[in-house]
């Protein structure tokens, strides 16, 4: 039993922390409140050059080949400073891993290095639709074979990084008659393909610098060679890859939660009321104790899920447990932190209200907490039947 990080993992964590502290943290508040995301895109380019876009991707495709534990600790450190940057990193890594897992050699060589190097600022993950959220197999976007092409029609929503992604992994129905989930295939669609339209950008509660758009396919014609994996096998792939993404989002939530607790705890050692530092009051001490205890438990769940994935063991239940617990405890930590700051927690001169808004979506995207509970209980019950 070895609970410490390796020297390489520690160095990656330190690099992420140093970069986040000096490059991301100074611009995070302005990115949240402004409309100009240029500084984030510039930082994403630098992060790509440092190797953060393909942490668990093979060196031959431009990845760092650093593993899943390193991915988790890196995302947490980035998220401590800027959740918008962290979610872009998490999705980019996931897109690289999907292509690496199911793409053919030509697809891997063509696209993964471009995301890893920062030539593409981002990759997009096009699964969700208006009528297919928690239930993605009910999607209606269609891909119809036409000669040596597929023609895509339909639309996707909530697509992270859509307005600056270079390539999208897109799921579409290829066999309407097949049973639910059995007629879906997975495609690579390049930005700029005629008929691929980047729709409106959503106005969100938090994570403002990360773009979230609609994606519209209007007779979008792509070569048949753009299909990844086998025909009608796409849904299984999507489910498998989302599992890895959950480690990313759990790690992101952990970073936000820790940032909030660190800020509030530091504040409590300076703020004086009733003639003493408020850290001397038991009410706040219990908030700290509970907040940090939950986040430490979340960290251990994440490390376990990441370690299992890295070592080729099953990790479906563990990733869902980690995502569920990390995102919910991060939300609770932000609320505690806000309470510790009182009125100052609620105003934008202090970072807690931003952390709180940024944390909220983590228990929704990449599978809601309810979907995580469904997966966890299904995995448990499997052993009882």
């Amino acid at each position: 039993m070895h609970l410490d990080l390796t020297e390489e993992q520690k160095l990656i964590q330190d690099t992420a922390r140093d970069f986040a502290g000096s490059e991301l943290e100074p611009v995070a508040a302005a990115l949240d409140s402004g409309n100009d995301r240029t500084p984030m895109l510039a930082n994403l380019k630098k992060l790509a050059e440092l190797g953060f876009m393909g942490l668990n991707v093979k060196e031959q495709y431009g990845g760092a080949e650093a593993g899943v534990v390193a991915f988790s600790v890196a995302i947490s450190e980035i998220a401590r400073a800027c959740a918008s940057t962290a979610v872009t990193l998490s999705v980019n890594n996931m897109v690289c891993e999907v292509i690496q897992a199911i793409g053919n050699e030509e697809q891997k060589t063509k696209y993964i290095p471009k995301i890893c190097s920062g030539e593409y600022i981002a990759g997009g993950f096009g699964l969700t639709e208006t009528g297919a959220g928690s239930d993605p197999s009910s999607m209606t976007t269609q891909a119809i074979k036409d000669g040596d092409c597929y023609v895509l029609n339909g639309s996707k929503i909530f697509i992270t990084s859509a307005s600056y992604a270079g390539v999208f992994v897109v799921w579409a129905v290829t066999d309407k008659e097949a049973p639910k989930g059995k007629g879906i295939s997975c495609f690579l669609v390049e930005a700029g393909t005629p008929g691929l339209i980047i729709g409106k950008e959503e106005k969100k509660m938090g994570q403002h610098a990360s773009a979230t758009n609609e994606l519209i396919f209007d007779n979008c014609r792509i070569p048949a060679g753009a299909m990844m994996g086998k025909p009608n096998d796409g849904f299984r792939i999507a489910v498998a890859e989302l599992t890895g993404g959950r480690i990313g989002i759990g790690s992101l939530a952990l970073g936000i939660g820790l940032a909030a607790m660190d800020y509030a705890t530091g504040y409590s050692t300076e703020r004086v009321q009733f003639g003493q530092k408020i850290s001397g009051f038991q009410a706040l001490q219990w908030m700290m104790a509970d907040g940090y205890t939950e986040l430490e438990a979340a960290r251990l769940l994440l490390m376990n899920a990441a370690w299992r994935k890295e070592n080729g063991k099953s990790f479906v239940k563990e990733a869902s447990m980690a995502k569920l617990y990390a995102t919910e405890s991060a939300n609770r930590a932000c609320y505690k932190a806000m309470q510790m700051l009182g009125g100052y927690g609620y105003i934008q001169d202090y970072p807690i209200e931003r952390f709180t808004r940024d944390a909220r979506v983590t228990s929704i995207y990449e599978g809601t907490s309810e979907i995580q509970r469904l997966i966890i209980s299904r995995e448990i019950l499997r052993n009882f039947s």
Partner: protein, 258 residues
């Protein structure tokens, strides 16, 4: 040309330091460790020179200390050093600068390094003696507190920072040793692929007993936080009286007014 950069691992300077049980140094439990800041400038400059000279040069990074210092050696390897030397000594903090310099010089003596880079000083002990003493022991030319560096045709051109921000330029023939200061460069972040590739670079362990020949010249007798100052002086009364009192204190305690 063979190049050497010497680094030290130090605690994060934002740590809370407590004396150890002997009362002669800080307790090293519960500390986060990182590379001494000045040594990062030294590594960066050494790596830049290594890149300038190409494969005709080889850059070694050396650190003395317990096993944990390997992490800082690996960071240097990830930044671009070719090979590492770990002089194993769990009690390096008990040695004085003369001994530390003696250990490094004993290693470097047979190696024929053309240029040695060190930090200006360590962030924890801050003696600023090790670099210059190594140079003296090896009879190398030495320039300290570099804020600029160039190398051409066997000659180092070094820009130094003098008191009050004045700059001086000195030239040194090799073999030489330079100590590096804030402002010399901006150290690179090690890239993740390079961190992973550094695993394959060689780190040679050497027992400190093989290199330590010197007895200490200076002994640390006590390590303690400063005694708590008394509360500040609180002046009360009307404004005119307060001004008189403040001027009196300034005249008495400072050189601002006479």
């Amino acid at each position: 040309m063979k190049l050497l950069v010497c680094i030290k691992q130090v605690p994060d300077m934002e740590s809370r330091f407590k004396p150890n049980s002997a009362g002669t140094w800080y307790s090293d439990s519960d500390l986060a460790w990182r590379m001494n800041e000045y040594d990062e400038y030294a590594v960066e400059q050494a790596v830049r020179l290594r890149e300038q000279l190409g494969d005709s040069s080889e850059l070694t990074v050396l650190s003395i200390g317990p096993d944990r210092v390997v992490e800082s050696i690996k960071k240097s390897l990830a930044m671009g050093c070719d090979r590492g030397v770990h002089i194993q000594d769990p009690a390096i903090h008990e040695k004085d600068p003369w001994q530390v310099a003696g250990i490094i010089a004993a290693y470097a003596k047979e190696q024929g390094f053309g240029l040695i880079f060190t930090g200006m000083q360590s962030q924890d002990r801050g003696s600023a003696q090790v670099g210059v003493t190594v140079a003296e022991l090896l009879q190398y030319a030495c320039a300290t507190t570099l804020v600029g560096f160039a190398f051409d045709n066997g000659v180092v051109t070094a820009k130094r920072e003098l008191e009050g921000g004045i700059k001086g330029v000195v030239k040194l023939p090799i073999p030489a040793l330079v100590t590096c200061q804030l402002g010399l460069n901006v150290p690179r972040y090690p890239t993740l692929p390079n961190i992973m590739k550094a695993k394959k670079k060689e780190i040679t362990p050497i027992a400190v007993a093989d290199l330590l020949k010197e007895a200490p010249l200076v002994q640390t007798t006590s390590f303690h936080p400063p005694t708590k100052k008394g509360a500040g002086i609180v002046l009360e009364g009307d404004v005119n009286g307060l001004v008189e009192k403040v001027i009196g204190i300034i005249k008495e305690k400072t050189a601002v007014l006479r």
